[in-house]
Amino acid sequence: MTASPFTFPTFRLQAEKLALRRGSRLLVENLSFSLTNGQALVVTGANGTGKSTLLRGLAGFLPPVAGQAHLEDGAGARETIASHAHYVGHQEGSKPALTAHENLAFWRAMLALPGLTSDLTPEAALRQLGVPQVADLPVAYLSAGQKRRVGLARLLLAPRPVWILDEPLTALDAAGQTLLTELMKDHLKMGGMVIAATHAPLGIESLHLSLGEAT
């Protein structure tokens, strides 16, 4: 893929005795781990074991019942994960009435971090994701796989060190899955971090966390 324009500054993601619940059920308890630049964490587990809950908790959408998770920069200053992370969930966050270009331009402005700008244009990002032809089409007209690729293009437009991906392979064809693997590899090479929940192998070197019933 393209040459990395920069590398992310040194940082560390730390989860300390994290406990999370969905509704009234406690799904994650006493979870501690620590990741640093260039590391990936793959979360697996059967349905209902709390993969999405964990990712939403790390992204800051669910307040923890106990414990905490945060980022620490090189100097030891703490920051929230949310404001340095891209979250890719089950929906793309694209407005059907707007074109792919308009959606991406909006997310670039909304999610760009100061000092971490990319000089990619939405068109170039769409080209990298193999869907250059959709730029001026309203997202409503796109197929599920194309929508997914448009959604993933924002990860390139507004560089953020942490990628939190919930089932990122959904709706992607084989070529798309390979493409995503390459993107993740590039991101890790740039000193980024990937936390992904998945049922299928992602093809990247990673740490592995399995959630599930005690046996």
Binding site: A59, G89, G93, A109
Partner: protein, 224 residues
Amino acid sequence: MSASPLAALFSREIRVARRIGGGGTMGVIFFLILVTIVPFAIGPDLNLLSRIGPAILWIAALLATLLGLDRLFQADQEDGSLDLILTSDTPLELIVLVKCLAHWVVTGLPLVIAAPLFGLMLALDPQALWGVTLSLLAGTPALALLGAIGAALTVTLRRGGLLMAILILPLAIPVLIFGVSAAAASFSATTPFLPPFLILCALTLGTLAAAPFAVAAALRHMSE
């Protein structure tokens, strides 16, 4: 190269509104229909209509403002935008304020502009037209912000519109009271226009300052 987040948000909101349902025109049509059916209910007596005209316009504006609000955050919640917005560096309170401002420009401002025309149909005299228009200009932003609280509380509900009205209409009573009073005072010989109008402005400014915090808190808690 990239626009400021809030400017980008504002232009996105306006674009989405323009492409879906024609933005403000729907609200204005609803406003027109409400003004049209009132004379059928109370009779075409122009003296009566001109006396209660400001009240009719205010009630119509209140309902028209609330009607479009239930989708304010729900649409973002359904397509996943709300999650992504929550990961933005920009404070959610400011985002809420800009969304409400865009919503008001698209739906509230057209009502204010249409009000003098509809006032003529209700036989308001020129002074009353001014009074109603000014009071709507000062009061509708408060209605939009109060409505946003209801929209945020009902963000996950499929049919939250009715519940939203139940939750928010009692809170809108002060705005209604002072809005209609200011409008009515503008053509009354005995009551001064300024006191109710200034209180109305104070209510709007107070809502402007406080409501974004309530809306942001509701969004954070309700979208978990």
